[in-house]
Symmetry: C2
Subunit: 226 residues, 2 copies
Amino acid sequence: MSRASDKAYSQIRELIISGDLAPGEALGEEALAEMCGVSRTPIREALRRLEADMLIRKTESQRSYVSDWSLDDVHDVFELRAMLEGHAARRAADLMDDAVLKALKMHNTRLGEAVSSDPPNVEEFLARNREFHALILRTAASPRLEILLQTLIEQPVIWRTAHHYEVSELVRSHQEHDELIAAFERGDGPWAEAIMTGHIRRAFHAYSDAHQEMMAAETDQEKKRA
Amino acid sequence: MSRASDKAYSQIRELIISGDLAPGEALGEEALAEMCGVSRTPIREALRRLEADMLIRKTESQRSYVSDWSLDDVHDVFELRAMLEGHAARRAADLMDDAVLKALKMHNTRLGEAVSSDPPNVEEFLARNREFHALILRTAASPRLEILLQTLIEQPVIWRTAHHYEVSELVRSHQEHDELIAAFERGDGPWAEAIMTGHIRRAFHAYSDAHQEMMAAETDQEKKRA
DNA sequence: GCGTTCCTTATTGTATACAAAATCGACCCG
DNA sequence: CGGGTCGATTTTGTATACAATAAGGAACGC
């Protein structure tokens, strides 16, 4: 983490995830270098990594842009997540132990509290949700599965939209986590897989709704300007 | 493809896949640069890409080595392939059209001929097998699924070992492809998925057997030397 | 003899300069 | 006025030099 390229990577990544660098925006190497206070060499390394993360794309002429995802793209990603995380849940059910189970319960309890509070603490919800899923993934004990899923999960479009989910979706999410925990306690892999797959698919619908809401809001603003 | 980094990437990649660069071997940037006739800068770009392909790994101190895969690692990869290609097969069954179906039949016919010839044409078998699976994958119409699977499929350990499969395994593979085609003709997604998943899992067993055979052969050679 | 410390050497990380390529705009021609 | 070509400018690709860091080995003390 001490290397300049790592620093640049984190910095640019944060800018993309926060939305300061908007989807479709051009990323000039020199400009980024000046912004990060390093030369172009580590910037280029960082851009390669961001490209592997699918956070940026390169045109045929090698210019870099922040990735812009269509709804179809996001749907594609959620379908893959549903399958991969379902697989992870099934494996995790076989390999589950008491310590992990206890940690899962703790995270989901805190997640439930975050949802119940008034107003709901969405940041806390997202953090606990993240930990919950990460723990299951780690329990599945497949290093490559973790790598594959990481690039699918860490997508800014999804994270940004998550702040606009309906409260009812958060509640449902909490309940489904409990069902997962129950499946783990019984060591029922197929059941855990089925719940997880549905859980992710419903998360896509929550995303889709929130996304359309946001789009509509933007259109309204444009109308006001005109 | 005209860029030096692309040239270096292909060149090093070929050396790894062919086995000229053995698993575990150290990859010094300067040595590679001299070998490829370019400077270290494009070499570094190439190494990043090879790392993303999981063809090389980097130690904590950032030195690069050719990936060495344990049997467990390979098993992990095959399990993921079984799931992902199974998913692809199910989707492909829904999206299948006559042109693709015809192409699949053609590839499998040629594959069968390669297996039946005496001696069996393993190169041809592998090429047709590759095309067959790639075609199904493309028909599934999920760009990200293709990306995820690519890194799992293009692994030199697997390709090298493939040349030592038993003929009976090649015959079975041919038959299973026919069953897949039948499932596609009926538009039966779940069936196609089940066949594909089993197909890949059995391919792992073929790999495992061939691998042990090769290990035993190596041990014999060592004994002869002593 | 074993382990430790320090120094030498090899290797990777970064900055800079320059070359190659692409984009954009002005200008000209039809 | 539209289209296309050429050139100026921007942007990316590569080479090289140097700095930082890690590996390997010799000398030293225990």
